[in-house]
C-alpha cells in the first residue's frame, strides 16, 4: 500500500500540529456513531486519570463512515480554544480523524494509525475498538501501563466472555497459535491491544500491506509477529466484553481473516514455529479470564446438518486436502446420529494440521481450502456446544486446555506433513 495514499495533506497537517507524543491511541471506525462517543470519552477519561502528564493523541482511522463518527471522535479534544473549563487537564489533548481509501478494512486502519505513530514517536500505543461499549477508563491504564512502566512490547487483552462467545478462537486459533508459536495468548485476534513504538515500527515496516493480511486479519498477524519476532509480550485483563448486535458475521469471511491468516503466517514464520520449545505462559496482569454462563439458545441441529452435508458434498475436495486415514475418520464421524455425534479433539487437530499443510502446498486453491474447513469447524462447534452445555467455568476451561494440549502433542505431525513425509 503506497504511503502517500494514507497520509493525506490534511492528516499530515493534523499530525504536524499534534507533534511528538508519549501516548497514541488509535480508534478504527466505520459508521460507529452510536457507540464511539462513549468509547472516546472513556479513552479521554483514562488518559486524564492515569496519564495526565503525558502528551497524548487519539487518532481515528475511518473507513468511510456515512454518519457523524469522525466528528464525534474529534469532539473528544481538549484545547484552549474550546475552553472546556469543566475538564481538569494539564495539557492539550488532540483527537484527530482521517479517512483512508478503499472502504472499511481493519488492516488499513491499523496501517494508517501506525503511519501516524511512525511520525509522532509515541512510547506506547493502544488500539481500541469503537464498539467496545464496556470500556472503562481503567482499560487505558491496564493496556498501556505494561508498555509504559514495564517495557512490554505487546499487550494482549483478556475478557470475561460468554462460554459460547469466540468459538473460532477457542477451538482453533488459540490452541493452534499457542502450540505453534509457544505463547499462551488467549485473545490472539484482539480488538483492543497495546504496543511499544519499537514493535509498532517493526510491524509497520513489514512488507504485508499490499497483501490480503494487510487488510483483513491484520490484528492476528500483529499478535503472531510479536510472538515470532521475540518481542516482550504480556496479557491484561480488561473485564466484560459484550457482543454488539452487528449483522451476523458470515463464517467464510471470518475464517479467511483468521484461519487464512494463521495458515499464511506459517510459511512466513517457519523458523519461529518450528523451534522446539514448549508453550509458556506470558505475564498476565489481573485475574485469569473467566467465562460467563448465561442461558443462550444455540441451534446445534443446524450445525450438525451442515457438517454432515458438508463432508458428503465436499468429499472430493476433502480427499485432496486430508490424508486418507483422517478422511475415513471424518466420514465415520459424519455417519454418527446426532445424539451420539462428537468430533473428537484428536481428529479435529489432525484435520486442522492437514488443512494447514495443504494450504502450505497449495494443493488446490488456498481459498477453497479455507472454505472447505468451514463445515468441519461447524462439526467441531457442535461438539463444543454439546460437551459444554452444562459445564461450569472450570470445566469449560479444562476442555479448552485439553484441546490445546492435543494441538501441542500433534505438532510433530504437522512438521511431518510440512516436510512432505505424509
Amino acid at each position: 500500500m503506497p504511503e502517500e495514499t494514507i497520509l493525506t495533506d490534511d492528516f499530515l497537517r493534523e499530525l504536524m500540529n499534534v507533534g511528538e507524543v508519549d501516548i497514541l491511541i488509535g480508534v478504527p471506525t466505520f459508521n460507529d456513531a452510536k457507540t464511539v462517543p462513549q468509547v472516546v470519552q472513556a479513552i479521554r477519561g483514562g488518559l486524564l486519570k492515569y496519564f495526565p502528564r503525558q502528551r497524548a493523541v487519539i487518532i481515528n482511522a475511518d473507513g468511510g463512515s456515512k454518519d457523524s463518527t469522525q466528528d464525534l471522535v474529534r469532539a473528544a479534544s481538549i484545547s484552549d480554544a474550546a475552553q472546556a473549563t469543566h475538564i481538569q487537564a494539564l495539557r492539550t489533548l488532540h483527537s484527530i480523524s482521517t479517512r483512508y481509501e478503499g472502504g472499511p478494512a481493519h488492516g488499513r486502519a491499523l496501517y494508517t494509525i501506525l503511519a501516524g505513530a511512525d511520525l509522532l514517536h509515541p512510547a506506547a500505543c493502544a488500539i481500541i475498538a469503537p464498539d467496545s461499549v464496556n470500556i472503562q477508563p481503567e482499560w487505558i491504564d491496564r493496556l498501556l501501563g505494561p508498555v509504559v512502566r514495564d517495557s512490554f512490547d505487546f499487550v494482549s487483552p483478556m475478557y470475561r466472555r460468554h462460554k459460547y462467545d469466540g468459538l473460532l478462537v477457542r477451538n482453533l486459533i488459540y490452541p493452534m497459535n499457542r502450540a505453534l508459536y509457544g505463547k499462551k495468548i488467549r485473545e490472539p485476534y484482539p480488538t483492543e491491544f497495546a504496543f511499544s513504538t519499537r514493535f509498532g515500527s517493526y510491524f509497520f515496516g513489514q512488507d504485508i500491506w499490499s497483501e490480503d493480511v494487510g487488510s483483513k486479519g491484520t490484528e492476528l498477524f500483529f499478535t503472531i509477529s510479536a510472538l515470532s519476532g521475540g518481542f516482550r509480550v504480556a496479557q491484561t485483563f480488561l473485564g466484560d466484553k459484550d457482543r454488539i448486535d452487528h449483522a451476523p458475521a458470515d463464517l467464510i469471511p471470518a475464517m479467511r481473516e483468521t484461519v487464512g491468516t494463521l495458515f499464511w503466517s506459517l510459511d512466513r514464520n517457519f523458523p519461529a514455529w518450528t523451534a522446539d520449545k514448549p508453550p509458556e505462559a506470558v505475564p498476565t496482569l489481573g485475574p485469569q479470564p473467566q467465562v460467563s454462563q448465561d442461558t443462550l439458545r444455540v441451534n446445534r441441529k443446524r450445525l450438525y446438518d451442515m457438517f454432515v452435508h458438508g463432508v458428503a458434498e465436499l468429499e472430493p475436495v476433502l480427499g485432496s486436502i486430508l490424508t486418507p486415514a483422517t478422511l475415513e475418520q471424518l466420514k465415520a464421524t459424519a455417519a454418527l446420529p446426532e445424539p451420539r455425534f462428537r468430533y473428537p479433539d484428536d481428529v479435529w487437530t489432525r484435520s486442522v494440521y492437514e488443512f494447514a499443510a495443504s494450504y502450505h502446498k497449495a494443493v488446490i486453491s488456498r481459498d477453497h481450502i479455507i472454505q472447505a474447513l468451514a463445515p468441519l469447524y461447524r462439526g467441531k462447534t457442535y461438539t463444543f456446544l454439546a460437551e459444554n452445555r452444562d459445564a461450569g467455568a472450570e470445566e469449560v476451561e479444562q476442555n479448552v486446555e485439553n484441546l490445546c494440549l492435543e494441538f501441542e502433542r500433534e505438532k510433530p505431525y504437522l512438521l511431518e506433513l510440512w516436510d512432505g513425509k505424509k
Binding site: 507533534g19 511528538e20 502528564r53 484545547s79 494539564l90 492539550t92
Partner: protein, 559 residues
C-alpha cells in the same frame, strides 16, 4: 521631582516626564534589594550610595523604574518586611540624605523609584507595638488586633504554613493573643482604628513629598478582619484603599500604587480601578508560564488569560518571572502544584511554603533559549514587566541559605574580589556569594557579559530596547490566536494603528505553525529585532517555522 503640591521641582536634566500620568504602563521595572546590589562602605552590606553608583548600569540596561525592597530600620527577621520605623533608612543602607541623593540621581537618569510600603503589619520591635503590648490600657493598645482567645476568625488561612501554626500568638507581656497573618514577629495593624489609617497615610506622604514615584503596597488583602469571613479582600479593605488613592491623586498626581495581592484574577479585579490601584501583580500567570514551558503546551497560559478579566484603561497588570519570594503555587490546582514541584523542585530543599525558592536561570536549567523565551513572553504579554535583579545576567541560587535568602545573594559585578559587590572581607558579607562553577561570580557577572554582544545581558538590553520602541506592549489590547499547533503561543497586540504579532514556540523542538491572519491580509510582517521583512499575508493560513524555544515579534505594516 514634584513637591507634595505636585509642582515640578526636578532639575532640568531629569528625563522624567511629569506629564505622562500613565508612565507605569510603559515602565520596565527592575526589582532590587539595596543590601544586595552594591556595597560602597565596605561593611559587607549594600547601601544607597552603592546603588546610586550603579544607576548608570540600570540606565544602560534600559529599565526606567526601580522597585526597592524595604530599606527601613528593621530587625531584619523578614528581610525588612518587618519594619520598625517607617520614616527612616536602615543605618547599614545609609542615611535619609543618601536616599534623597539616590532618588535625585535616578530621576536625572530617567529612572523612577518605587518603594515598599508594608501596610498590613509592623515588626514586633516597632515602638507602636512595644507601646501597645506594654499594657491593655495603653493608648496604642488598639493599634493592633488583640484577643483573649485564639479562636476568632477561624476561617482564615495560614499563609506561612512551614513556620506558623496559627494566625494568633500569645503575648506574655500583656497576656492576650495578637493577630498576625505572616510571621508571629509581624503583628497586624488594626485598620479599624482611624488613627492607624491616618498615621500610615502620613508615612506615605513622608516619602511622596520626598519624590518617590510610587509604592508597592505589601499584603493588601489582609488589612482587616471580620468574623465569618476569610479575612481577605473585605469591602472595608477596599474602602481604605480608595481613601488612600483619593488622597494620592489629590495631593500627588502622577504617582502610582501597586498592589501585592496573591489572589485569583477575579478577586484581584476590584483592586484594579481608577479609584484604587494603578497596578497589581498577576500572580496566577507566572507559574503557568513555567508550566506551559515544561509541558510544551500553551494551554495553561491561555486558560489563565481567558480567566483574566479586562481592566480599566488606566490600570495595568504587573508581570514577573521571579522575585524575592518563592515561586508561589498558591494560585494553582493541586494537580498543577504537584506537577510544578516534580518538574521544578524535585529536591525538597527547593520547596518553601506553597512554592519554589529558586531563581530564573536554575529553574530553566540555565538554558539560554528558555530564558530568552520566558523574557520574551514577559515583555510581550499585556502588562508591565519586572526584572528581578541578577536575572538579567542569569544568576543562580543557593537553597542552602534557608528561607528565601538563596535568591537574595549579592549582585555579581565582576570576577574579582567579592564579585565586585563589596570591598569587605568575604566573611563579613551579609550573605555568601555564589561560588559554584556554573553560577558563581567568576562565571556569571556583569563585566564579562558587557564584553560580548551575544551575552544574556546584551540580549536583555536588546529586547528591552525593542519593547520600548512601541507603546503597544504596555498599552495595547491582546487577542490570542489559537493555531492547531498547541506548542505555539501566538497573540496579536494592538494599540492605535499599530499591530504586533507575537509568536512563541514553547517546545524544545522546531515547530511549524499555521496562523489565521486573514483579517490582516495585505500586511507584510517585519520582524522587530532584525527588522527583516517576511512574506505578505494572503488568503492562506500564514505558515511560520520556529526553532526550539524561538519567538518572533512582528510589526504589521500595510505598504
Amino acid at each position: 521631582m514634584t513637591t507634595g503640591a505636585g509642582v515640578l521641582t526636578s532639575p532640568s536634566s531629569s528625563l522624567i516626564s511629569v506629564q505622562d500620568a500613565l508612565w507605569y504602563k510603559d515602565a520596565i521595572i527592575y526589582q532590587v534589594h539595596v543590601k544586595a546590589f552594591c556595597d560602597s562602605s565596605g561593611d559587607g552590606m549594600g547601601d544607597f550610595r552603592g546603588l546610586g553608583q550603579k544607576l548608570g548600569y540600570l540606565q544602560e540596561l534600559g529599565v526606567n523604574a526601580v522597585w526597592l525592597m524595604p530599606f527601613f530600620p528593621s530587625p531584619l527577621r523578614d528581610d525588612g518586611y518587618d519594619i520598625a520605623d517607617y520614616r527612616s533608612v536602615h543605618p547599614t543602607y545609609g542615611t535619609l540624605d543618601d536616599f534623597k541623593s539616590f532618588l535625585q540621581t535616578a530621576h536625572e537618569r530617567g529612572i523612577r523609584v518605587i518603594i515598599e510600603m508594608v501596610l498590613n503589619h509592623t515588626s514586633d520591635q516597632h515602638p507602636w507595638f512595644q507601646e501597645s503590648r506594654s499594657s491593655r490600657t495603653n493608648p496604642k493598645r488598639d493599634w493592633y488586633v488583640w484577643s483573649d482567645t485564639d479562636t476568632r476568625y477561624r476561617g482564615t488561612r495560614i499563609i506561612f504554613l512551614d513556620t506558623e501554626l496559627s494566625n494568633w500568638s500569645w503575648d506574655p507581656v500583656s497576656k492576650q493573643y495578637y493577630w498576625h497573618r505572616f510571621f508571629s514577629h509581624q503583628p497586624d495593624l488594626n485598620y479599624d482604628n482611624p488613627d492607624v489609617r491616618e498615621m500610615m497615610w502620613e508615612n506615605m506622604r513622608f516619602w511622596l513629598e520626598m519624590g518617590v514615584d510610587g509604592f508597592r503596597l505589601d499584603a493588601v488583602p489582609y488589612l482587616l478582619e471580620r468574623e465569618g469571613t476569610n479575612c481577605e479582600n473585605l469591602p472595608e479593605t477596599h474602602a481604605i484603599i480608595k481613601d488612600y488613592r483619593a488622597r494620592l491623586d489629590r495631593e500627588f498626581p502622577g504617582r502610582m500604587i501597586l498592589a501585592e495581592a496573591n489572589q485569583w484574577p477575579a478577586d484581584l479585579r476590584p483592586y484594579l480601578s481608577p479609584d484604587e490601584f494603578h497596578m497589581a501583580f498577576h500572580f496566577p500567570l507566572m507559574p503557568r508560564m513555567f508550566m506551559g514551558l515544561k509541558l510544551e503546551d500553551r494551554k495553561p497560559i491561555t486558560e489563565i488569560m481567558q480567566q483574566t478579566p479586562s481592566i480599566p484603561d488606566a490600570c495595568q497588570w504587573c508581570l514577573f518571572l521571579r522575585n524575592h519570594d518563592e515561586l508561589t503555587l498558591e494560585m494553582v490546582t493541586d494537580m498543577e502544584r504537584d506537577y510544578m514541584y516534580d518538574e521544578y523542585a524535585r529536591d525538597r530543599g527547593m520547596r518553601l511554603n506553597l512554592g519554589i525558592r529558586r531563581r530564573l536561570a536554575p529553574l530553566l536549567d540555565n538554558d539560554r533559549r528558555k530564558i530568552e523565551l520566558m523574557n520574551g513572553m514577559l515583555m510581550s504579554l499585556p502588562g508591565t514587566p519586572i526584572i528581578y535583579y541578577g536575572d538579567e545576567i542569569g544568576m543562580g541560587d543557593n537553597v542552602n541559605l534557608g528561607d528565601r535568602n538563596g535568591v537574595r545573594t549579592p549582585m555579581q559585578w565582576d570576577g574579582g574580589w567579592n564579585g565586585g559587590f563589596s570591598p569587605a572581607d568575604p566573611e563579613s558579607l551579609y550573605s555568601p556569594l555564589m561560588l559554584n562553577p556554573v553560577y558563581g561570580y567568576q562565571s556569571v557577572n556583569v563585566k564579562s557579559q558587557e564584553r560580548f554582544d551575544h551575552s544574556l545581558l546584551s540580549w536583555m538590553k536588546g529586547i528591552i530596547k525593542v519593547r520600548k520602541s512601541t507603546p503597544v506592549f504596555g498599552r495595547g489590547s491582546i487577542e490570542f490566536l489559537y493555531p492547531a499547533n498547541h506548542r505555539v503561543l501566538a497573540y496579536m497586540r494592538q494599540y492605535g494603528k499599530e499591530t504586533i504579532l507575537a509568536v512563541n514556540n514553547l517546545s524544545s523542538s522546531a515547530q511549524a505553525v499555521e496562523l489565521d491572519l486573514k483579517r490582516h491580509k495585505g500586511n507584510i510582517l517585519i520582524e522587530m529585532s532584525g527588522r527583516n521583512i517576511f512574506p505578505r499575508i494572503g488568503d492562506l493560513p500564514y505558515l511560520l517555522t520556529l526553532g526550539p524555544y524561538q519567538f518572533f515579534w512582528f510589526r504589521l505594516r500595510k505598504i
